[in-house]
Point group: C2
Chain length 199, copies 2
């Protein structure tokens, strides 16, 4: 059996590392790279490194941004009295797409997961609590996915925040239980947002 050329194998391995990309799809992608022009390959490699180099976490909400403070946190048009707590930066994009939410965000960069050894220290919880000290925030919406990890994280945070006298709400169960937040369609997400109940 003749093996694939080493540089191609290496590329397949790299692509296989992406969640949701299996071996066959990774192979397909690698061959697609082979059929690209030099300029296209350069653009792809540059985009990968560019995103990684130019972006970092917003000092306030922890979302990815090119600036020190992200456009949402900087905006005077947004409602600074509401914070929507999400697992990851991609969830911010999903909420922005509904065009129904005008508050701020806070990205935890993960969820509680004892199996993977992820506890409170690994999540951006300290940064969230720091934002709640000046009394400007009136409501914190827990918008973690309706999974076990999402529920545990939301419950834990609610217990920390309630004593501060801040309203703590949870997305309504319009979301199909067990699914992942990022695949929710705009309508479902909007319904979940408007039907949110106090925890």
């Amino acid at each position: 059996m003749a093996k694939q050329a080493a540089p191609l194998q290496l590329l397949v391995e790299q692509f296989s590392k992406f969640a949701g990309v299996g071996r066959k799809n990774a192979t397909r992608m690698a061959y697609q790279v082979m059929s690209m022009s030099d300029a296209e390959v350069q653009a792809l490699a540059d985009a990968i490194r560019g995103a990684h180099t130019k972006l970092h976490r917003c000092k306030i909400c922890q979302d990815y941004t090119e600036e020190e403070i992200c456009p949402v946190c900087q905006s005077k048009k947004r409602d600074h009295s509401v914070i929507c707590v999400v697992e990851s930066p991609r969830d911010v994009t999903v909420f922005e797409r509904t065009r129904e939410y005008n508050g701020l965000y806070h990205v935890l960069h993960g969820l509680f997961s004892p199996v993977d050894g992820i506890g409170a220290e690994q999540l951006c919880i300290r940064e969230l609590l720091a934002r709640l000290q000046d009394g400007e925030v009136k409501e914190v919406i827990m918008a973690t996915s309706p999974t076990v990890e999402g529920e545990v994280t939301a419950t834990y945070l609610a217990r920390l925040i309630k004593p501060l006298g801040i309203k703590t709400t949870r997305l309504a169960y319009g979301l199909p239980v067990g699914s992942s937040l990022e695949y929710a369609d705009e309508t479902t997400l909007y319904r979940a947002l408007s039907g949110r109940g106090e925890m």
Copy 2:
């Protein structure tokens, strides 16, 4: 609605260009790049450029290789009297995985597709015919996918090759019609190979 940061958008666009990678998966992949270490990002970008720079087409069979002539064409253990004609280099990998084929390959780098303006000139047909001149080749196996384009290409080639007195065979219809060759499992492919009939 706050937009995603530009470098992230650019990366999502780049990933979306891959066949089979939709917008949501591309976004997911882009965020995964963000959570990689510097070294991991470097390895990914290098693998992409490395595969593209170091590999080129084998002078004989047109498969991708690091050398001038690929290991399969160079091998004295392979049966040089049989050529298996495939659409793309990834099909070579699929055949090699069956461990049942010991002949040579010829990669067309495409199939006839009048809709996309792909005719005989765009495929590596001239290179195939050149290999059939010295009388060493006794059989050419048409192993293009069982789709309309695959059939048309196989039929066209058979008509060119038969007058040279070379046996021209076609993979048996063990392959589910309408599917793509690269997703066939090893057993099905092996059955298709052994049940091949003369055209």
